[in-house]
């Protein structure tokens, strides 16, 4: 079977000098991943895990130090031009810096359409449609320098799709987008994958969207892939993790609540606390959720805190991510 992306001990080492001493950083360390054609593949990892370096190597922007990879069957070292003909690359962290700020959105897209060998009439049709989809038609003649970050991100997304490549490298595609644009972008990526069979290598810090979109996820840490499985399999790894979610309303002293809960023997740790001004939601990791629910409810009652909901919580991708990266670090 030919894969859309296949890496063979792909490694990138950066050398730098710090206080006169040579420092070696293994940004990507003997990575072996295989992404099937038409797969929606997620890449997760903490900052500095090597995700962007890996993507840049696959997009032929930087050369590997060791190993190689094949993209759409082409070798990234020996056949970079062929690799480039079948990829679309989006790098959201630049916040729109990778566009020409002194050109308008239309000219930016036209420029890249020319570079990607898209015939003129096809390019014009696609530019018009993409500008409309990303709600930029009204501002298409404005220079990009006058755009908001979200608008620049949308132009960059249009640029990555313009030449209709079979493989898309989407590095933080929803960064800087408002909620509606982010939802629409996720829908578009999902449809491109499901209906047109595009392979998508997706990187995001938003666990929710990774879980929602990706069929398989690789988790990276310190340049290495520490897990590579579908979200359901990853979730299975957390069968022993039990959690309870509590919603409380009103003006409460959160630090006092946290302190009171932490001393309960059944509570392992408070995973996260979301405070949206009206409701506070706490995720609490416990030994046994069925035993913990009455104990926690009674604690809240004794503290005089009004609980609006208390329920068993399914492990999330975030739990898996935290568990795996912590285990590796240990």
């Amino acid at each position: 079977m030919e894969y859309a992306v296949e890496t063979f001990d792909l490694t990138k080492i950066f050398e730098s000098k710090e206080d006169g001493a040579k420092r070696i950083v293994r940004a990507v360390d003997h990575v072996n991943i295989r992404v099937k054609r038409g797969e929606f593949f997620g890449l997760l990892g903490p900052n500095g895990a090597g995700k962007t370096t890996l993507i840049k190597m696959l997009c032929t922007i930087i050369l590997p130090t060791e190993g190689t990879a094949k993209v759409n069957g082409y070798d990234i070292i020996k056949e970079p031009v062929k690799v480039r003909s079948c990829i679309g690359w989006f790098h959201g962290e630049t916040g729109g810096r990778s566009l020409y700020w002194r050109l308008n959105a239309e000219d930016n897209l036209r420029f890249y359409a020319y570079l990607q060998n898209v015939p003129k009439d096809v390019a014009e049709r696609r530019i018009k449609a993409l500008l409309e989809f990303f709600e930029l038609t009204k501002d298409k003649k404005k220079l990009v320098k006058d755009y908001s970050t979200g608008m620049k991100v949308r132009v960059m997304l249009a640029r990555a799709l313009l030449h209709n490549p079979p493989i898309l490298f989407m590095d933080e595609p929803t960064i800087g987008l408002d909620t509606i644009s982010a939802v629409e972008t996720r829908r578009l990526l999902k449809a491109l994958n499901a209906e047109l069979g595009k392979t998508i290598i997706f990187r995001s810090h938003n666990m929710f969207e990774v879980e929602q979109l990706c069929e398989r996820i690789a988790i990276m840490r310190e340049g290495r892939v520490i897990a590579d499985a579908p979200p359901s399999v990853l979730r299975e790894m957390l069968r022993d993790v039990h959690a309870v979610e509590v919603e409380i309303k009103g003006d409460n002293n959160l630090s006092e609540i946290t302190r009171a809960l932490s001393i309960l023997p059944i509570v392992k740790r408070i995973v996260e606390t979301k405070n949206d001004s009206l409701t506070i939601t706490m995720r609490i990791q416990v030994d046994d959720e069925y035993e913990a629910i009455p104990v926690i409810a009674s604690k809240f009652h004794s503290l005089g805190v009004k609980v609006s909901a208390i329920r068993r919580s399914e492990p999330t991708l975030e739990d898996i991510f935290v568990k795996l990266t912590r285990e590796e670090a240990a």
């Binding site: 810096r97 002194r102 060998n117 015939p119 049709r125």
Partner: protein, 144 residues
């Protein structure tokens, strides 16, 4: 425009035809448009061109053939020859420095990376950038 319309648009791939001329033109056109969008830059370039032309014309007036002969250079107009040499060197240097400046700017701003991932060859990119540099410096040469 809905997701379905975009999917419809991308259904069935249109053949792509590689053309070096089109690549060169795209780089030249984009960079020249960017250059024109900087009013101060255009004004400064024009002033610099006018000042250079004035300076070389003034020097040319100072060293007519009679003075060259008096200076012991015989019939050979060495100083005029040198002036043309300096002006040509200056012209070429400006073109190269413009190209180098553009490359540094693209690297710093992050615009070079998407270009690398596209179909353009480095040769076409450099030719496109150079044409823009030569065209702007061409003012100077024509003026001279």
């Amino acid at each position: 425009m809905k997701v379905e319309d975009i999917i419809g648009l991308f259904r069935g791939d249109e053949p792509r035809v590689s053309s070096e001329t089109r690549h060169v033109w795209a780089v030249f056109w984009a960079n020249f448009k960017i250059f024109l969008s900087y009013r101060t830059w255009v004004i400064m370039e024009t002033i610099s061109t006018i000042a250079s032309v004035a300076m070389y014309s003034f020097m040319g007036l100072q060293v007519d053939a009679k003075r060259v002969t008096l200076a012991g250079y015989g019939e050979v107009d060495w100083i005029s020859f040198a002036l043309v040499g300096v002006a040509t060197a200056n012209y070429l240097w400006m073109c190269i420095s413009r190209l180098s400046h553009s490359l540094q700017h693209e690297i710093r701003e992050g615009t070079l990376e998407p270009i690398i991932t596209s179909q353009i060859s480095m040769r076409s990119y450099i030719i496109g950038q150079s044409i823009r540099g030569f065209l702007v410096s061409g003012y100077f040469m024509l003026g001279f």
